[in-house]
Symmetry: C2
Subunit: 433 residues, 2 copies
């Protein structure tokens, strides 16, 4: 018999069905025994039959250990309006018995929950988090598909370290050394030089960051986009904001009701265009609020980002803001300058409720200019030679951005750390399970 | 002015348009100069205007270096039926000049091509390979989306080595050791214990294989599926074959014309069900063809797989075959036995034109049985304790498979090595670019 879902039982009174799910609770009252079965769609009450020839089912129901994975065959009973569906059992098969009590209590700490992540993930709230993540990515891909983007899988094993050599994992590779990719930046620019025109990638990146914050893992999922034939970084920002808006619309449509029920939250679909503020103005706003940014010239720190976000929310009623035009000293050497010789770059960050979720830019694609910028930074050109080659054989103007998937999920769902919305987070202190 | 595509110029004679693309060739004949511009959609001829006030455009066209990335504005000319579109130029901007001759010649070896992969990927054939890959994955995801699968991103940094410890990359991790994931097997089973019911992942996996074959890279993209509440591995196979058929249908619909043009090939949509043969019968077929399998008891080697495929093609006219029921000695300890105490497992491989593209199985989810199987294999239970815990708190029956993305692409496109269809392949000898 095909499996039925709990949520589909309404109006099927008298039908024979097969349910599969987990025993949520067993109720042994004076009125008799009943067990709650939960599947992905909802929960139903299992009751023993009144028929004496199946009298063994009552005691078996009563002895079920919560958590057990069971298959239940029976007849849908008329449970009355507004109550949960009921099934009068014909057969009950314990396919995966729970043999021990679940070692997680309500109110367990995040670290305890992560130690027992597979049990922690059983809650409806956590199941919802990962269904929302699935929808996020599906919606992102819908736009890429409709616009002819090419998907790439860039290698995570790299032959050379990044420029700074910081936060880098390295390993022995057949007698030499390999490095784990910190971003697909290099390779998505390679795809532009290869004429792929528009590419995306969703994949893991690695940062050997020894100090965990609520927003930094040592491994996380990066969403990367790169576009050729752009006129400036403004086109990248315009592309990203329309795309993000569509993604949030999809989440609201697919999960709005559940998010209200389980998280008590409303999904806010952001208006486009998002507000834009250049970094000098942003710093001025933060300083005017009474917070000094003297320790991070040309940039914002976390508190600065929060204060800017509060200002934008108050002034524009918007949760998102593009910060633009960072000075070259706080950006990689390959970011294009706003004008020849200017200090400001064609770069942007996107803050969402005060958290940086995206870094993006137009890249410098003119070989001589790029060489000058590398030299001015005091970089050795030899380790960069393969990268520099991209621009010697005809490369269109291009730019793009990277976006942290779990940061977006965290902000969207109002959680306080990315580790709450990461399947199995990794930090300096946590490599398990 | 918005960008136009070459393929959309037909019927637009007299229109002002903007094209972006690469200079493919420059023709300097007695009739005058013309350059071929190629974009993703096709190629067009750029001609200088006859107007004397724009006389500089002719010499500029003539001096273009092939490969240069250019923007061309002009008027669509009537080129006559069956010829390529023509543009009479108003403006020509060299946005990314080619400064050097492309160091790749027709007939370059695969290794030379991979050294200059970004130039190699410019060919229409290679561009097509990655557009087909994009379609493959999109079609895979369409089915997952319609059936409510949850996407997971399992960690690639793991705390423990695999059982055999073979072909394993390891790295220092904040004073301890981490291992690069060889498959998401452990974590997709964890998702089943967490009640995710149906999950998928597309992501990188790592194998420190020192001996490259045409079908083995040290890093490749694995497509993984896991299903709960199955009755047997037969359900997994039935799911996979319908899914693969739909994927091939999508490739044929989206790229059939181009694949005929560039590769001279027809996409064959496989009939379902695929033929099935148990391993004992498969070995008998191979031995009967005059090839001894004495050196690989209970299994097939590459030549065996080829001979079996030839037999299946001759007998059933089919490119695909499921080989089932491998003995436990050649499968991991957690594969479920066909019957209690039997040697045969509920496992399968899928061969496509004689190449293994999938390994799958129903997993043993009964704690006591699993412990017995681990002990019988002589495994130490302590390193397995986190895995074994999955089955102590209620775990449904489940099974799934892993599929090598580039192997499928290679077979589908009739290429001879996965490295031909991998964006940037990695082997013991190749970590660059």
């Amino acid at each position: 018999m095909d499996r039925s879902w709990v949520a589909d039982l309404a109006g099927r009174e008298g039908d024979q069905v097969r349910l599969c799910g987990w025993v949520h609770a067993v109720d042994r009252s004076d009125d008799g025994v009943a067990a709650t079965l939960r599947d992905r769609s909802g929960s139903a009450l299992l009751r023993p039959p009144s028929s004496p020839c199946r009298h063994a089912l009552g005691p078996r129901l009563a002895s079920l250990a919560p958590g057990s994975a069971v298959e239940a065959l029976g007849t849908v009973a008329d449970a009355g309006p507004g109550t949960q569906p009921q099934l009068v059992l014909d057969e009950l098969h314990v396919l995966g018995p729970a043999m021990a009590e679940v070692p997680l209590r309500p109110g367990a700490s995040l670290e305890q929950r992560l130690d027992w992540r597979f049990l922690d993930l059983r809650s409806p709230e956590n199941q919802l988090v990962f269904r929302v993540q699935t929808t996020l990515e599906r919606a992102m891909r819908a736009r890429w598909a409709s616009e002819g983007f090419v998907e790439i899988h860039s290698p995570k094993l790299k032959p050379t370290p990044n420029q700074s050599g910081s936060e880098l994992f390295s390993l022995e590779y057949f007698g030499g050394r390999a490095y784990l990719a910190q971003s697909p930046q290099f390779y998505k620019q390679m795809a532009m030089a290869a004429g792929f025109e528009r590419v995306f990638e969703i994949g893991p990146v690695f940062r050997a960051n020894p100090l965990p914050t609520p927003w930094h893992d040592t491994e996380f999922t990066s969403v990367d986009v790169e576009l050729s034939w752009i006129g400036s970084h403004e086109e990248v920002m315009a592309w990203e904001e329309r795309w993000l808006r569509e993604v949030v619309v999809e989440v609201a449509e697919d999960h709005g009701v559940e998010l209200r029920r389980w998280f008590g939250m409303e999904v806010t679909v952001p208006e486009v265009p998002f507000p834009r503020v250049d970094i000098a103005t942003a710093r001025g706003i933060v300083e005017a609020s009474g917070y000094s940014l003297a320790h991070c010239p040309g940039d914002l720190d976390r508190e600065g980002e929060r204060r800017l976000a509060a200002h934008v929310a108050a002034e524009h009623g918007h949760d998102l803001v593009f910060v633009t035009g960072y000075p070259e000293e706080v950006r990689p050497f390959y970011h294009m300058r706003c004008q020849p010789g200017s200090v400001a770059t064609r770069s942007f960050d996107l803050l969402w409720k005060g958290l940086e979720v995206t870094t993006g830019a137009q890249r410098e694609h003119r070989y001589e200019v790029l060489m000058d910028q590398a030299r001015a930074r005091g970089l050795s050109l030899h380790p960069l030679r393969y990268y520099l080659d991209f621009f010697r054989f005809g490369c269109p103007p291009h730019g793009g951005f990277g976006l942290g998937l779990t940061r977006v999920l965290m902000v969207l769902l109002g959680r306080s750390t990315v580790r709450d919305v990461t399947f199995l987070p990794r930090t300096a202190q946590r490599l398990h399970p």
